[in-house]
């Protein structure tokens, strides 16, 4: 993705964010909106300048200037899978609890990133480390630091 496209996408994201705030403006006192309105104006102005500069030689970031430009050849699929596992893990935390989601989440990410993904040994290795990691964290947080970790609704 080139710099111009990144500028435009970034500007589009900021505009969507501003619009989502603007449609909720229903201040009941004279002071609630003073500050957000000023900053909504500032953000719109900054986005407008970015978009205007996109078609000029002075645009925000030129091709090759930003390190992110180099990350075009990354592992999008791997990242999507890991992000998906993390989200599933977070959603299931409420229902299944920390111990089960922790072991499954840790094992699945570790197994997915393992070079020996297709071998049983690779899976067992990931699972064993996952169990050990979760066990240590439960010991440290529940018993050492007295921080309660989620037990899960279905087990209650």
């Amino acid at each position: 993705m080139n710099a111009m496209m990144r500028d435009l996408l970034g500007s589009a994201f900021m505009l969507i964010f501003v619009v989502s705030l603007w449609v909720q403006r229903d201040f009941t006192t004279p002071f609630g909106g003073i500050f957000p309105d000023i900053w909504i104006g500032c953000l719109v102005a900054l986005v407008a300048i970015t978009i205007l500069l996109t078609w000029t030689p002075w645009r925000a970031v030129k091709d090759g200037e930003d390190d992110n430009g180099k990350s075009t050849g990354g592992h999008w699929f791997d990242m999507a899978v890991v992000g998906g596992i993390l989200f599933t893990w977070a959603v299931l935390l409420r229902y299944v609890g920390f111990m089960t989601t922790g072991i499954i989440g840790f094992t699945s990410i570790s197994w997915f990133l393992n070079d020996r993904r297709n071998s049983v040994r690779g899976f067992i290795e990931s699972a064993l480390v996952g169990v050990a990691m979760v066990g240590v964290l439960i010991l440290v947080f529940e018993y050492g630091l007295k921080v309660p970790l989620p037990k899960g609704n279905i087990f209650n």
Partner: protein, 516 residues
């Protein structure tokens, strides 16, 4: 002040706090030595371990973790030519050539002595500069606090990596996120999408974990995880004293780099990643043998490591006096202070001087503890650096981010929000917006809002209610400083000085987009 220092000293020298300093420093060193993890991420990951501690114990532990983490970055910089944290980028330039030529221990000792010295200088500056600055801050009214916020935002946007325009846009985005929830004056409920759970606004620690940990984790997967091979080094008798003598025979480099680190740390948003490169450049410029830099000169290692550890103390100065984090890891400490019911700013000195001085002295103690731990435990750490497989690192970080965001309020929504902010943070970074300006906007937003609205109320007698923002001479100074930092990027020369050294060395990984 002396009585507060003595009181702080008696609190630090207790078995519990000494152990916290030791374990915090070691934990920080371990996380800091892992390539690709920033100091901010390390502090954010280890925050949950301090949730149930007392305010003093939690701050002592976090300070030690931060100090240890910045130092720990030197191990991977020296032994595998990959900076553990972006604060150690400059250490690779001379540290790795030293290790390759069989002088690894010399490089480690140089980095250790430099880090400890820089850390202590930063803490001394923190102890002696903070009280007068806090006194000055007590003279600030609402208008001055508003302008302090504007100054913080302009300076971080100037110093942040990438474009100034994107830095400012990110800061404005952060400021607007801070307005979600109940307004500080008037009590308006704003931008909650009708959800009662959003009335309290977003929890700062949740956003910080999301913005600083999840994008790093996803970046690791995105760029492909790989193992590193560390250079082994053997301990030889006499190297410790010989190297220490050599370093102190040229104290100017050590002192200059520590001062550079402290000053850069004071600037909001500028962290060790900038300080280490500026100090390296200055050390090279001042050296009688500049041609030896980049080929294994211990002065280069000493300069970068003393500067990055001096940033720790320097960065705390604006935090404890004005409530403005000097560097991104300070933002986490800011969040923890707020969580513990302590408002960063001059009140910390006025009302909780015992906690403040204990924290500052614990930072200094942590810098001293790094010497025995680094020199005698360094070999163990170097083995760890080369052997921890990334396939366990990524889910390990994932599990800590989940615990960290859940355990703050035992709230499942916080975990989802943390991941959502993480994904947004990754996308924004990919689009050229970096985390530091967003976080500073988030922290300064409420301070600026209170200042602006109170000034507006005070100005009701004027034909233009905002006049009160411009009537005080202190406000004029802050406006001038904001204008200067706003125009700074256009001067170009200074920015050139900051970016030039990055091309000097041969850094394997592209870590420069990350900020500590």
């Amino acid at each position: 002040m002396l009585e507060h220092i003595l009181l702080g000293l008696t609190h630090v020298i207790t078995f519990e706090n000494l152990m916290l300093v030791l374990f915090g420093t070691v934990a920080g060193m371990v996380v800091g030595s892992l390539p690709g993890l920033t100091a901010t991420m390390a502090v954010a990951l280890l925050v949950p371990f301090t949730y149930t501690m007392s305010p003093v114990a939690g701050l002592v532990a976090l300070g030690a973790i931060y100090m240890g983490c910045i130092y720990g970055g030197c191990f991977s910089a020296i032994l595998i030519n990959t900076p553990g944290t972006p604060s150690s980028i400059g250490t690779t330039f001379d540290g790795y050539p030293l290790a390759k030529s069989g002088r690894g221990e010399e490089a480690i000792v140089s980095a250790t002595v430099g880090s400890a010295f820089g850390g202590v200088v930063g803490v001394v500056a923190l102890i002696f500069l903070s009280p007068p600055l806090a006194q000055l801050a007590l003279k600030f009214g609402p208008a001055e606090y508003f302008w302090v916020g504007i100054f913080g935002l302009t300076i971080i946007s100037s110093l942040a990596k990438g474009s100034f325009l994107k830095g400012m846009t990110g800061a404005a985005f952060g400021v607007l996120i801070s307005t979600v929830g109940i307004a500080p004056i008037g009590g308006d409920v704003r931008f909650t999408f009708g959800s009662p759970s959003m009335q309290g606004g977003f929890n700062l620690i949740v956003i910080l974990i999301g913005l600083f940990c999840v994008p790093e984790l996803l970046s690791m997967v995105f760029k492909g995880v790989k193992n590193h091979q560390a250079i082994e080094y053997r301990r030889r008798s006499g190297v410790l004293w010989e190297t220490t003598r050599k370093i102190f025979s040229k104290p100017v480099n050590l002192i200059r780099s520590s001062i550079i680190g402290t000053v850069i740390g004071i600037l909001p948003g500028a962290g060790g990643n900038i300080a280490n490169l500026v100090a390296y450049n200055e050390a090279k410029r001042a050296s009688k043998e500049p041609e030896t830099f980049g080929k294994g000169n211990i002065e280069g290692v000493v300069a970068t490591e003393s500067a990055n550890n001096a940033v720790v103390g320097g960065g705390m100065i604006p935090l404890v006096t004005l409530g403005i984090p000097g560097a991104p890891p300070d933002a986490i400490i800011y969040g923890v202070l707020m969580m513990q019911g302590l408002r960063p700013g001059p009140e910390l000195f006025a009302e909780r001087a015992d906690i403040t001085y204990t924290f500052m002295l614990a930072l200094g103690l942590s810098a001293i503890v790094m010497i025995p731990v680094g020199i005698y435990g360094g070999r163990l750490l170097s083995r760890f650096v080369g052997t921890l497989p990334p396939k366990f690192l990524v889910p390990g970080i994932g599990i800590l981010t989940i615990i960290g965001s859940y355990a703050i309020r035992s709230n499942y929504t916080d975990v989802i929000l943390m991941l959502a902010f993480g994904l947004v943070g990754f996308a924004l970074r990919y689009l050229g917006f970096h985390g530091a300006p967003i976080v500073l906007g988030l922290i300064l937003g409420p301070i600026m809002e209170e200042g602006l609205v109170q000034s507006y109320l005070m100005g009701q007698g004027y034909s233009w209610p905002y006049t009160t923002l411009f009537v005080n001479p202190l406000s004029w100074i802050l406006i001038a400083m904001s204008a200067f930092s706003f125009l700074w990027p256009y001067f170009g020369k200074f920015k050139g000085m900051l970016t030039k050294p990055a091309a000097v060395g041969n850094v394997k990984t592209n870590l420069t987009e990350k900020r500590d």
